[in-house]
Symmetry: C2
Subunit: 245 residues, 2 copies
């Protein structure tokens, strides 16, 4: 999934070789769509840009194409910088979509990327960008809507394998914030005591000596993500999700 940096995407001297059947690889127009996600209340939010409006409010997922000698991931990073002014904490390729549905650039093929940025990241100033809750998206081109849905689904499927949840928070966070992120990603409420017990047992966070007071209630201690090198915990059997069909 991870792309090798520093390689040329289009080697200038190579010429398309004909396939065994005699048909050369088809030429298509390529776009990259980037779904930048962040927690927002009990939902995920995605960063959209005001589109080339035709009167009404139109929004688009940040999209673009690829420069000569640029990898897919390189293009996605460039898009992210353009939208955020900085690199996201997490970036991953999600899917290639080419179902013929509408896309702002009318590209034949679009490659969807997902990015995660910390809770509280403001939308860039200028009024061109805004956060939208993924459960109340505005009108989008059908293929971009599919990109956002795939990105959210992929985030949920990868949270066990990669520390995505921690990239959706600033480097220092309270355990309640972390629990909320996990609840958003899992789509269900968790028990506070069990959550902290599991965290402590896995040893993935370390306490700082800072505390944060918000409104009423007792101040919360701040923690950091600290993956202590441990033996790779073995995967467990999970049949539950297979019963659905």
């Amino acid at each position: 999934m991870t792309l090798v940096a520093g390689r040329y995407l289009f080697a200038p001297v190579k010429r398309a070789r004909t396939a065994p059947g005699g048909v050369p690889p088809r030429r298509v127009t390529l776009a990259i769509d980037l779904a930048i996600l962040t927690p927002h209340g009990r939902q995920l939010a995605v960063l959209l840009r005001r589109g080339a409006a035709r009167g009404r409010d139109r929004w688009v997922v940040p999209t673009g194409s690829i420069a000569a000698g640029e990898t897919l991931e390189g293009g996605a990073e460039r898009l992210a910088r353009g939208a955020l002014g900085a690199l996201p904490g997490w970036l991953a390729q999600i899917a290639a979509i080419s179902d013929g549905r509408r896309h702002p650039l009318e590209a034949d093929l679009s490659v969807a990327f997902a990015a995660a940025v910390p809770l509280g990241t403001p939308a860039p100033v200028g009024g061109e960008h805004a956060w939208f809750s993924t459960d109340a998206l505005p009108m989008l081109a059908a293929r971009q809507r599919a990109s956002v849905d795939s990105a959210v689904q992929a985030l949920r499927m990868r949270m066990d394998q990669e520390p995505v949840a921690f990239r959706l928070l600033p480097s220092a966070f309270t355990l309640s914030e972390l629990q909320t992120v996990y609840e958003v990603l899992l789509g269900r409420r968790l028990h506070k005591a069990s959550f902290r017990r599991a965290l402590h047992a896995a040893g993935v966070v370390e306490a700082t000596d800072e505390w944060r007071s918000e409104g009423r209630g007792r101040p919360a201690q701040l923690f950091r993500y600290s993956p202590r090198r441990r033996r790779a915990g073995h995967r467990t059997l999970r049949f539950e999700l297979l019963s659905a069909g």
Copy 2:
């Protein structure tokens, strides 16, 4: 991830629209690589085709491009029919790779698909195709090697969400065969009693009235995959894999 069938990939009348920056979506040559996987002993095996040999033994992952009006998934299905003579039990898009490394068709961009076929599926007659254990692959173009590795990894990551394991077996199978498939995918041995207990609790298989005797030992009862519609079992917290880094 699933592509909509029956849609045109390249709408003939549409013209590439210029991006906001003024750059039209880049044109690239596109190939599809298909890693057809099946269980083979305690490993997964992949189906390779004898390549356009230059003297030595060269092998390639089944690859091709896309016809006009064909979706990515449609192209992958056509490739699968060409290699197997039939559709695989499971087919999924894995990744788009464009790192500039070698590919048989020299395509700029290749989209990797993974397919699963049942244990015991023979390689097509004619000597053009053969199964290779994924832990002892022959020389492959670097990008195709990456496709195979990604396909195997994706199979392992999706086994909890989709009934991939059952597509790696014929419709009727023994519980020992199923357990072996799970052991191959999980990469570790399982306990017989626990495995059957979990299977029974989840209610994902149903017994047939057939039995199979192989060599010595008591004959084994045959089972089928039967996903009884149940309440969607909730996902559990899993921090273990996040400790690695």
